[in-house]
């Protein structure tokens, strides 16, 4: 059974088959694990791992079909991936420690990508919400925006309001059960990416 929940344009959620293949770099060898220590991005000492050159080189990329590729892999292996873009077969994964600006630098028109996924390693990492917001509002991304990684039902309502319209539920949890949480609240107070604060939405006189 698929783990992927998708929102239709009318807001209706359903579980759909995942037509994308996620490209995952091979595990790093013991010695080559490097923490991103130091101020790569100013004051972002959060200890996330970056892929080594070896990992990037050894990543297997399927020759056909729709592929979802980490931004770092795209950056290093653009030449071989380029041709997949016009055919609508390329989607990009942004990690929560990466920036929307870095993505924009690669794709002047973000809407040339049919899918952007934001990968959250731990569900408690709320940066994913700001990234969703930015991609939708500041960067005007209109196509599918997917939450992947440690995606659990109790955060889905927030993901949805932060601009995500598909959610790949963590493999050991039921996507069926998670559907219910998308409608936890019927009339939220504040605006979200697609909606205005309640006092602009309805009359509260």
């Amino acid at each position: 059974m698929s783990q992927l929940i998708q929102l239709a344009a009318n807001g209706q959620a359903s579980i759909v088959a995942d037509t994308w293949t996620r490209v995952v770099p091979p595990a790093a060898g013991e010695e080559s694990v490097r923490k991103q220590a130091g101020k790569v991005v100013l004051f972002k000492l959060t200890g996330e791992q970056t892929y080594t050159a070896e990992q990037i080189a050894n990543t297997e990329i399927p020759a056909t079909g729709k592929i979802l590729v980490p931004l770092t892999i795209w950056q290093a292996r653009k030449a071989e991936l380029q041709s997949r873009l016009p055919t609508g077969e390329l989607g990009i994964i942004l990690a929560t420690n990466e920036t929307a600006e870095a993505l924009q630098a690669e794709f002047a028109d973000l809407n040339s990508l049919p899918l952007i996924a934001v990968f959250v390693e731990r569900f408690a990492d709320g940066r994913i919400f700001t990234l969703g917001n930015w991609l939708r509002t500041r960067f005007g991304f209109k196509n599918e925006l997917r939450a992947i990684g440690d995606v659990l039902r109790d955060q889905l309502f927030f993901h949805k309001r932060a601009g995500f319209d598909s959610f790949l539920i963590r493999a050991d949890r039921s996507a069926e059960d998670a559907l219910a949480s998308l409608n936890d609240f019927s009339q939220p107070y504040q605006g979200g990416v697609a909606d205005v604060p309640v006092w602009r939405r309805i009359s509260r006189a």
Partner: protein
């Protein structure tokens, strides 16, 4: 005060249903501890030493008699017959059962209450001055904006999982009573030279392990933009705040690392993208909310009352209470009354179920059915007529709520500490009780005068020890409980962080240490000097000398 409309009610009802299901899944083993943790915390539920602790929100400290009665009933039915007012104006239950918490929340929802975001790494209950709306020195009543902010922050989709907790305080008085400088964001309301309501924004203050007073990030913010501006601040923090080390995750650390200028640049740049968007508060919405905070239907009263004056003149106990527990009011013939939750020898901030009912009755009979809780952990009847004060005193006295010690040494701010809190290094309540007993002589207490003594059981500083004139902090030395003492901290516009006087003390030594500090003050004070003034004039040295001299000869 604010009253729920169907939208507000639906949100708390849906929250109860959501939390009930989350708790069911946790108890059924479908959610791990780690997964349930942020969910329960965002509903104020801690797992503590002996039992869970449930923190119920009292938004900006305003509570109705009906709500307080309900709390009285809840503490009786689900707890051990008492509750504890915290330094963030909320009410804590120390002994609820985890399985009961959904039912408790359902009960709360019937009186327009909840426990939403009273803990967790999200925007917490917004706090303010307990005398908002009635203080003679108030320039702007900030409560309508505070309520608008409460709604905006409730289940904010982007800020549900911040690097760390986020506290906002608002104040609109000349004399700051909300310690806005010790909050992640502090909003100081004032009238600008156009006569418009404007806000001075402080950022990056906080107590805890690294106490820092906030810095002004914007001198003048139009009230219409308060949500968008706060959103910009928190967004920058959400992205750049540290997530690898909980002790370095507060916004104050980020502001310090970047420097206020760079932080401000990032905030302003972010803000420019959406400043005039849908978050701009409309006059309509402000008016809708503000009508709940209009002045009470006061009577036209003379500024003096003969029966009151006579009672003060003839009854020294009443006079002492009036001196300490009765505060000025902007309307002639009215006063605010502080009911002390600090009787000597009891845990500061505790109140029994029966007392809650007494207080609710007092509010109904004498103060328009409303109450406030203060960050000093007392309760306030905000609108009492002069002619009723004597009766209020008698009834409060009979219920043990009239200790005339407000603002005095025994009006101790104290966190739950090692008796309840699993983070504690040391107990705090027994220290407070011992100090109260040491100074149980009311005449002596009054002679010492204004003094704020704050106690925290650990670095997290829930008891605001850094800003106490005397601050006491529980520390752990080789597994035993010790206490570090600071003097010279202060809240208010001229806030300061206290300085440590020297090596720490055992629990038994503490009443004596405070006694020595007071001896130095009494010996050295000039004219009308308060304790804090003497400390500021002389510095720590004479206090240190006396305390440790005694220690060596002892």
């Amino acid at each position: 005060m604010y009253k729920y409309d169907p939208i507000d009610q639906q949100i708390v009802n849906e929250r109860v249903a959501q939390y009930r299901d989350q708790t069911r899944r946790y108890l059924a083993g479908e959610l791990t501890d780690e997964e349930y943790r942020p969910l329960r915390l965002q509903n104020g539920l801690y797992i503590q030493r002996h039992a869970p602790m449930l923190r119920i929100a009292v938004p900006y400290g305003l509570i109705s008699s009906k709500q307080l009665r309900k709390l009285g009933d809840i503490t009786k039915q689900y707890d051990r017959g008492y509750g504890h007012f915290s330094t963030r104006q909320n009410l804590q239950l120390n002994w609820p059962k985890l399985e009961d918490t959904p039912d408790i929340l359902a009960e709360l929802a019937t009186v327009e209450m909840h426990a939403i975001q009273t803990s967790g790494n999200c925007i917490r209950n917004i706090t303010t001055d307990q005398f908002a709306g009635i203080a003679p020195d108030e320039i702007i009543d900030p409560r309508a904006v505070a309520e608008i902010m409460r709604q905006w922050s409730t289940f904010h989709p982007e800020f549900a999982l911040l690097p760390r907790k986020f506290k906002i305080a608002v104040s609109g008085t000349e004399k700051d009573r909300a310690i806005v400088q010790a909050h992640d964001i502090g909003l100081e309301f004032y009238k600008d030279d156009q006569g418009q309501m404007a806000i001075k924004v402080w950022v990056g203050g906080g107590l805890g392990r690294t106490p820092i007073l906030g810095t002004v990030i914007r001198e003048h913010l139009e009230w219409q933009h308060v949500l968008s501006y706060c959103e910009a601040v928190i967004r920058v923090y959400n992205i750049h705040g540290r997530r690898d080390n909980a002790y370095k995750a507060r916004i104050k650390i980020l502001v310090k690392a970047l420097g206020i200028e760079e932080f401000k640049r990032q905030v302003e740049e972010e803000w420019a993208h959406f400043k005039d968007g849908p978050l701009t508060i409309t006059q309509n919405e402000l008016d809708r909310v503000a009508k709940y905070f209009e002045p009470m239907p006061y009577k036209d009263l003379p500024a003096h009352d003969a029966s009151f004056d006579a009672a003060v003149a003839s009854n020294p106990a009443f006079a002492a209470w009036v001196k300490r527990c009765v505060q000025p009011h902007r309307v002639p013939g009215y006063r605010a009354v502080t009911l002390s939750l600090k009787p000597h020898g009891k845990a500061p901030g505790d109140i029994t179920s029966e007392q809650m009912h007494v207080v609710a009755d007092l509010a109904d009979a004498y103060s328009f059915g409303e109450l406030r809780s203060s960050h000093e952990q007392n309760l306030i009847l905000a609108d009492v007529q002069l002619s009723d004060l004597f009766t209020v005193w008698q009834k409060a006295h009979a219920a043990g709520l009239a200790t005339p010690n407000i603002g005095l040494l025994t009006d101790i701010i104290c966190c739950p500490g090692g008796d309840f809190c699993s983070l504690a290094n040391a107990k705090s309540i027994p220290i407070a009780e011992a100090i109260q007993m040491q100074f149980d002589n009311l005449d002596y207490l009054h002679e010492i005068g204004d003094l704020e003594l704050n106690i925290s059981g650990c670095m997290n500083a829930c008891g605001h020890h850094h800003v106490g004139h005397i601050g006491i902090l529980g520390v752990d030395k080789d597994g035993s409980e010790w206490y570090q003492v600071t003097v010279g901290g202060k809240q208010g516009n001229d806030a300061s962080i206290g300085s440590v006087i020297g090596p720490s003390f055992s629990a038994e030594e503490m009443p004596g240490v405070v006694q020595r500090l007071i001896e130095v003050y009494v010996r050295e004070r000039q004219d009308e000097e308060r304790f804090i003034d003497t400390v500021r004039r002389l510095g720590v040295a004479p206090f240190k000398a006396h305390v440790y001299a005694e220690k060596e000869t002892a």
